[in-house]
Symmetry: C2
Subunit: 137 residues, 2 copies
């Protein structure tokens, strides 16, 4: 679990609270909401404060251990393994799907050429309808 060494390298401490949160995110390959993380931590240690959880999530994001994004109204987190930062989220069933980073490279290049704008693909979530849900209606 390399996140622990990342923390230690930077002089950050590996606390019970951080282990609870990190392990939970690593055990869940899907996107998870802040709410579900809070629930999980509270189910094991109810006395852990929610502000600690939010601060831990911010810290993990700053150190590239998790990715944080907004999907509709909710804040969503997922673990940060290489090559898995790009997500599609279905507006109907809520499931997430990965896509190949290369798909967006031409867009990135074109926007840099024409507008000089450098988009950050790591934090990009695209919403829509997945295959199954499209067939339902």
């Amino acid at each position: 679990m390399s996140c622990y060494s990342v923390l230690k390298e930077k002089g950050l401490r590996v606390t019970l609270q951080r282990r609870l949160i990190l392990d939970y995110i690593h055990d869940n390959k899907d996107h998870i909401t802040a709410e579900s993380i809070i629930n999980h931590v509270h189910s094991k240690f109810p006395q852990v404060n929610k502000s600690t959880i939010y601060r831990t999530l911010d810290l993990l994001e700053k150190n590239d251990c998790v990715f944080k994004s907004k999907s509709q109204d909710k804040t969503i987190y997922h673990h940060a393994e290489e090559g898995h930062h790009h997500h599609l989220v279905c507006n109907r069933c809520g499931k997430t799907f990965d896509y190949d980073e290369d798909v967006l490279l031409p867009v990135k290049k074109k926007l840099e050429k024409t507008l000089g704008f450098q988009i950050n693909l790591n934090h990009l979530i695209m919403n829509g309808l997945c295959k199954e849900c499209r067939n339902l209606k």
Copy 2:
């Protein structure tokens, strides 16, 4: 101002509060924050409640009169004229930039072919660094 007729058609009422908000959004071509909308309405009628404003914005979004999106931590609204739904938001200065819808069409088509996922381009905001801000650092 077709939004008024949209409301009337659906049996929704055109109230002072809704006129204030609609007119303000129509007069502003840029993205505007919920905060600036609240400030504007309060500058004319301080007694209007903020929950009314949020509810009105949700209603206008549901009826396709405005678009609502998240940029970083803020909620952002803009009027819904055809061909202006696609935005880049700079993470440093907060300015917004439009881009041509066509840029993303190949991506949309590819994802539909390979994954069957139908992305909704209307609500897509991409974050990054604009030309000016890139040059600053």
